[in-house]
């Protein structure tokens, strides 16, 4: 069977790729996609640990499902916000959305 560390390696890589996407893309939707990748990495991590350490109990999968739920909610709200912003400002470029600036 595949050693656990391989999975961890993949998840770490996936997480970092998603992170890079989330931090370096200019388009809000692309940022969202990066975040989704990170969440997926986390999910894969959970399931891998579940399989390799606690396969007798289903807690790992339970939490994976919760992560999926949260991801779904996050995507829905995030995209709604993006659409609303687009209506307002005709742009979804993250760099131009800097109202946080004092």
């Amino acid at each position: 069977m595949v050693p656990l560390t391989w999975y961890l390696l993949v998840t770490a890589a996936l997480f970092c790729i998603g992170l890079v996407g989330a931090l370096s893309r200019r388009n809000a939707i692309a940022v969202l996609m990066g975040i989704e990748l990170m969440l997926n990495a986390i999910n894969l991590n959970l399931v891998a640990f579940w399989r390799y350490a606690y396969a007798a109990r289903m807690d790992g999968q339970v939490f994976a499902v919760f992560v999926i739920t949260v991801a779904a909610a996050e995507a829905a709200v995030g995209l709604a916000i993006i659409i609303a912003v687009y209506r307002q400002r005709r742009t979804i470029n993250v760099e131009e959305l800097d109202l946080l600036k004092g």
Partner: protein, 742 residues
């Protein structure tokens, strides 16, 4: 014990709460619906409560391992804190009393609040409704008392101190809300306390006790690591508490058990209005009478006693420790002290309030001398007859208001105008001769009063009080015994005084002459009275000691067995006392004697020569007897004033002085001097300014600007930049964590 009952355990507390929520959120618009919800909920939890209660009486060995339903709730470090409800004989007894009394008082409130009456034209929210009209906020009232019922039932059923504390505070909140229920009410004379202030007073005063009690809980948790009854009262932990000591400043090493016991007892002092925290209870009478009956006579104030009974193993952990002595001293003293005050009160409810305090004192004294069973017995009996008395007084007040209403309308004056202001329907001096006017009320009130006075053999109060006295006598607690005997004498006396002044003699005011208890609403009010009267008399018969001459052989004394099973578990004295004549004689003497003296003194009160005086101005027979002392008693030893001087005023003055100090002694001078100095300086150094300072200022300005520009680039307002900073920090820290040697 059928295990299926376990699944019912959560029902009695939860249902009233649901009713509360339903009323507050949805049902409040319809008064009828709200009342229906409240009463329906309490009825069901009453039925289930009795089911559980009787089951617990019949069950064997329930005292050792109570029926528990619980769920892990609070992670406390390593362990989980389980929250849940438990059922043992003691809880069973309380479950027998609490929901039942609640139900009766709910029903009574329907009449008292005038459900079904028309909405008064000029009734404003937060004011008592004009006679014959429904209270505008009646839905809110029922919501509150439902919440209170939840609190009380939950408190008696809780299986750990945290949950108990939660319900305890719920009760405190409800007490506050209900005392201040008529929040808009105000009186012409400024010294008379308004409901709003009274509620605040009650809340804050009890809060003192609660805080100290919480400290006790915290110490307990530190020592034991759990607050669940089953674990606190386990022999091991009791042993630990009794042996480990803390080094107190003056007292030297003291066992934790004593400290914690006394700290917890302070909570009881606050809740049960014992000396020195008794001041809130008389003022709490500002609340509607059902509230006084429910919260300030039957249930909440006795919750303090129940707390001590519940934590009794803790109290007795140290043999003959100072904790018990402390309890007994406070109790006995309060019993006597409050009874003396009650002698001189003219407000019908105030008398009952002080008698409540003194009766609670009885219970604490009993607990202090180790009369566990007697205290429990008196607790239950007292709840019944004191609730009865309060409801009766409420009915009287209602009747008086009606009478006043009629007379006022007869005079053609709006009863809601100034007349209600100066006429006090609660003042016993305005009453008299109500026996013929309101017979149902009078009879029931009479029974309750006799029970309170401990009228021999038939009434419940006799048996419970007698058992306490007997306990005190047999266990050689002479001082307590005599103090309590005197208190009992006074009790009988002022009871007689109250009954005579209220019901006998001739009506002293037109209102009293026209008072009546007819009309639909009075049925709502009188039926609970009758039921309670039944229990106030018959209730005591379950506790007739088998050693009692003649009657003893008819009695199996079930009560003693029920509570005894609890006592055996924790190894308190639980065998029946040998019969001894002295206490019996004493209680016979004091009750009958007191009643007789009272009747003697007041039989023709107000009907003698100075008939011309207005009823409130006529002298009280006691005034002649104890001249200077009378006003002292009447003003309850000036405790309110004392506390006002000692605590309230100093606080105000302190804060005022702080303000003064800050404002006048510090700021003004500084400002002035700075001003002067500044003036001179500026005069002296204009040239300096122009040549040096400006340059410096500008320099500072430019430097600041430079820094500002440098720094403000950090705040771009772009999420991604911030996240990048986070990422940088994280990876740097991670690197440090990995590279640096551990």
């Amino acid at each position: 014990m059928s295990e299926s009952l376990v699944n019912l355990l959560w029902v009695p507390p939860v249902l009233p709460f649901l009713a509360f929520v339903a009323i507050v959120l949805w049902a409040y618009r319809s008064k009828k619906l709200s009342v229906g919800l409240a009463i329906g909920a309490i009825t069901i939890s009453w039925l289930i409560g009795w089911l559980l209660a009787f089951a617990s009486f019949r069950a064997e060995g329930l005292a050792e391992d109570p029926l528990r339903i619980f769920r892990d709730w609070l992670p406390t470090g390593s362990t989980w804190h389980a929250f849940g409800f438990a059922l043992d004989p003691l809880t069973g007894l309380m479950l027998f009393m609490v929901p039942f009394v609640c139900l009766l008082i709910f029903i009574y409130s329907v009449g008292y609040m005038g459900i079904g009456k028309p909405q008064g034209a000029h009734d404003e929210r937060g004011m008592p409704a004009e006679a014959g009209h429904v209270d505008p906020l009646v839905s809110r009232f029922f919501a509150y008392i439902s919440l209170f019922a939840c609190g009380m039932v939950g408190f008696v059923m809780a299986d750990n101190l945290i949950l108990a504390l939660v319900f305890w505070e719920i009760m405190g909140l409800c007490s506050y809300l209900l005392i201040g229920f008529w929040f808009a009410r105000s009186y012409p004379d400024p010294n008379k306390i308004t409901p709003k202030e009274a509620g605040l007073k009650a809340f804050l005063t009890t809060r003192i006790g609660d805080t100290i009690m919480l400290a006790g809980f915290i110490f307990l948790f530190i020592q034991i690591g759990s607050l669940s009854y089953s674990e606190i009262f386990s022999p091991a932990s009791l042993e630990k508490l009794a042996t480990t000591t803390a080094n107190l400043p003056l007292l030297g090493p003291t066992p934790w058990a004593t400290i914690i016991a006394i700290l917890i007892f302070f909570g009881a002092i606050g809740k049960s209005a014992q000396f020195p925290l008794h001041v809130w209870l008389p003022d709490a009478m500002e609340g509607p009478t059902p509230v006084s009956a429910l919260i300030h006579a039957a249930t909440m104030v006795s919750a303090g006693v129940y707390l001590i009974i519940r934590t009794y193993p803790l109290m007795t952990a140290v043999e003959h420790g100072p904790a018990l002595m402390f309890i007994s001293i406070i109790g006995a003293f309060t019993a006597l002290f409050a009874a003396t005050i009650a002698l001189a009160q003219n407000d019908i409810k105030k008398v009952l309030a002080y008698s409540t305090i003194s009766q609670l004192g009885f219970m604490f004294a009993a607990l202090g001398i180790g009369a566990y069973i007697a205290a429990t017995f008196h607790l239950l009996m007292h709840s019944f007859f004191k609730a009865l008395l309060f409801l009766g007084s409420g009915s009287v007040i209602h009747g008086m208001e009606h009478g006043h209403h009629e007379t006022a309308h007869a005079d053609g004056v709006s009863a809601h105008g100034d007349i209600t202001q100066d006429f006090d329907p609660q003042d016993m001096r305005n009453m008299g001769g109500l026996f013929r006017r309101m017979p149902k009320t009078a009879w029931t009130f009479l029974l309750g009063g006799l029970s309170l006075a401990g009228f021999p053999i038939i009434t419940a109060g006799f048996w419970s009080k007698d058992e306490i006295l007997a306990d005190a006598w047999v266990n050689e607690h002479r001082i307590v015994f005599f103090v309590l005997v005197i208190a009992a004498l006074l009790t009988a006396f002022y009871t007689a005084r109250q009954i005579v002044m209220t019901f006998f003699g001739k009506p002293r005011t037109p209102a009293a002459a026209h008072a009546n208890e007819h009309g639909s609403i009075f049925w709502w009010m009188t039926i609970p009275l009758m039921v309670l009267a039944f229990f106030a008399v018959v209730g005591g018969w379950v506790g007739i000691p088998t050693t009692f001459p003649v009657l003893g052989q008819f009695s199996s004394n079930p009560f003693h067995h029920i509570v005894g099973s609890m006592a055996e578990v924790y190894g308190f004295e639980s065998e029946e006392l040998p019969f001894s004549l002295m206490p019996l004689m004493a209680s016979l003497l004091v009750s009958l004697g007191g009643l007789f003296l009272g009747w003697l003194a007041y039989r023709n009160y107000g009907t003698d020569k100075n008939y011309a005086l207005s009823p409130t101005a006529r002298p009280d027979p006691l005034q002649r007897l104890l001249r200077g002392l009378y006003p002292v008693l009447q003003n309850s030893y000036y405790f309110d004033e004392l506390y006002d001087r000692l605590f309230v005023q100093p606080t105000k003055r302190l804060s005022y002085w702080l303000y003064r100090f800050d404002d006048q002694l510090v700021i003004d001078p500084i400002v002035d001097d700075v001003g002067k100095v500044g003036l001179y300086l500026s005069e002296a150094s204009r040239w300096f300014d122009t040549h040096v300072v400006d340059a410096a200022v500008n320099g500072v300005g430019t430097v600041t600007e430079l820094f500002g520009n440098a720094v403000r680039t950090l705040q771009t307002g772009r999420v991604q930049n911030y996240l990048l900073i986070a990422l940088v920090t994280l990876s740097v820290l991670l690197g440090a964590f990995l590279l640096l040697p551990k």
